[in-house]
Amino acid sequence: MLQFVNFKKNYGSFAALTVDDLQIGQGLYWLKGVNGSGKSTLLKSVAGMLSFDGDVLLDGTISVKKDAVNYRRLVSFAEAEPLFPEFLTGREMINLFAKARGAAAGQEEEYIESMQMQSYVDRPIGSYSSGMNKKLSLLLAFLGKPKLILLDEPLITIDTASLLILYKWINERQEQDGTSFILSSHQALDRDILPNAGELLIENQTLTHIA
């Protein structure tokens, strides 16, 4: 599903992350690593938001660099600490993403409802708490029909009830559309909730597939 080809990310002269050649099959992955190990760097690079040397391919052929638009239609990302223009309402952000990713009309409604966002989705984002903002960014990542959804630290800022709903969304999309996921966290994986998750580890400035 995802292939790293001579991936190298430097910050100045510091080689932050190097992945020579790694293939990850379809499925759900739990990306582990201590603070500062480079989890966000990896996810942002795979999302096409951060430049790097080498290439990342989706399904063997779609390159984040050479096929920029198509790749971005198929890979979506939710930031750890999202920041959106404060004057837009949640609904306006949803419309923007839905249009860009070619989402089916009304796709967002069940997500808004299940996450209980009806009361504030039409208010400006400037009035949101960090948890509300986080829920919005998670919802945005599910719009359209991405083949890979990257969630950076989805467990932080949202409450336990919302977290269970998020797991439900993930399971549904995996079963119905075969969507792949990479979730980053410094917490341990809960096998009871995500029994089939694979595990990726960032350590010593490189990425390995551990389970």
């Binding site: 992350l17 096409g48 239609r73 920041l83």
Partner: protein
């Protein structure tokens, strides 16, 4: 030794103020010192100073300019105080004694007013050697008064708790209007950058008026109109920088959306077209349509070059200003050789190449603590 309070306030407000207004200072510098040949510079400024030292009316005009400057600084300080990462000031500054707060803020005012203090000091020197004692004393009193009033105003700002965020009137009116991705910066201006935008339009108006007052043959000489348009573009470089900062802060998600680089580039052209609308209307009322169209294309090409450049060099105002100055001189000379269309073509070509190659590689230098996480 300065107190820790002065130190923090200096770092937050004074450094930031000069960085944020580098474009304005560059513009004023060009106007004050670039417009006069080097050998006449001293006499010209001496004559200018004597003119306002001996005429109460002109002195009042100068005082109004200084007042505008300090009002601009209030606006900046109030804006910074409202930023989330400066909220700590509300519960730290107010814990100091009134006296040390006043002294610290006076120091900050002095640093912010420094360009005016130096200029005013020179004017006083000229005044004293030419027996203009009253006007010289007036300048001293006025500047002292400004500093004290301004310091008191800043203390009040840190004591009044920030109100909840309220959308500007434009945004409440535009509630049901569609807001496509490219238009977001224009909404941002309407929401938060109205003052900056108005000031730029006033500068533009000043440039236009001055060009028409100084050059009689402006209608027949394409070069004069071209230089005026270039000056208008230079007046916009700060808001271009602002656009990139906004994009790098609030529109980071855009780089993950499936927009082609050509359509993103086109979107930015539309943004600047909307932003330059007042000037474009002026061009079409003053010149024949073909020439007005050429000038509009020239303005847009040059502005896109200054925009795209930032993807390459990052959000570093100091470096940016050096490039702006260099490119200004280069484009200036191409226009002087009556090659405005060539200048437009080169600008837009360079802009597109810079944009295409750097859009996904661009980086923000702003957060100096860019950490890996």
């Amino acid at each position: 030794m300065s107190s820790p309070l002065t130190n923090v306030l200096n770092k937050v407000f004074v450094h930031g103020f000069y960085r944020a207004h580098a474009g304005m200072f560059l513009f004023i510098f060009l106007v004050l010192f670039g417009a006069v040949p080097g050998d006449m510079l001293l006499n010209y400024h001496k004559a200018l100073m004597l003119a306002f030292l001996t005429s109460p009316l002109l002195l009042a005009v100068v005082f109004v300019f200084w007042l505008l400057y300090i009002v601009k600084s209030w606006h900046y300080i109030a804006g910074q105080l409202a930023a989330p990462h400066h909220q700590f000031l509300f519960y730290s500054v107010s814990a100091y004694s009134k006296r040390s707060q006043l002294l610290s803020w006076l120091g900050i005012q002095f640093n912010i007013l420094l360009p005016i203090v130096i200029y005013g000091g020179l004017a006083i020197g000229v005044g004293l050697t030419h027996q203009c004692y009253l006007a010289s004393a007036g300048i001293v009193i006025y500047l002292l008064g400004l500093s004290i009033v301004s310091a008191l105003f800043c203390i009040r700002l840190t004591q009044a708790l920030p109100e909840g965020k309220q959308l500007s009137l434009f945004l409440r009116f535009g509630k049901s209007m569609p807001k496509p991705y490219f238009s977001l910066f224009i909404w941002h201006i309407f929401n938060q950058k109205k003052v900056a935008y108005t000031i730029i339009k006033v500068i533009s108006w000043g440039v236009i008026t001055a060009v028409f007052a100084l050059f009689d043959d402006v209608k027949h000489d394409a070069r004069v109109a071209g230089i005026a348009v270039l000056a208008i573009v230079i007046a916009h470089v700060v808001i271009i920088f602002e656009e990139r900062t906004f994009e790098e802060t609030f529109l980071r998600f855009g780089r993950n959306l499936p927009y082609s680089r050509a359509s993103l580039f086109g979107g930015f052209v539309l943004v600047y077209l909307a932003m330059l609308l007042p000037e474009i209307i002026w061009l079409f009322t003053r010149f024949d349509p073909v020439f007005a169209m050429e000038l509009t294309l020239f303005a847009l090409s040059a502005i896109m070059l200054f925009h795209s450049l930032l993807y390459r060099i990052g959000l570093n105002m100091d470096v940016y200003m050096q490039w702006v100055l260099g490119l200004f001189m280069l484009i200036f000379w191409v226009v002087m050789f009556k090659a405005m269309l060539l200048a437009s073509a080169l600008c837009v070509l360079a802009a597109f190449i810079l944009f295409y190659n750097n859009y996904y590689n661009s980086f923000a230098v702003l957060p100096e603590r860019e950490i890996i996480e």
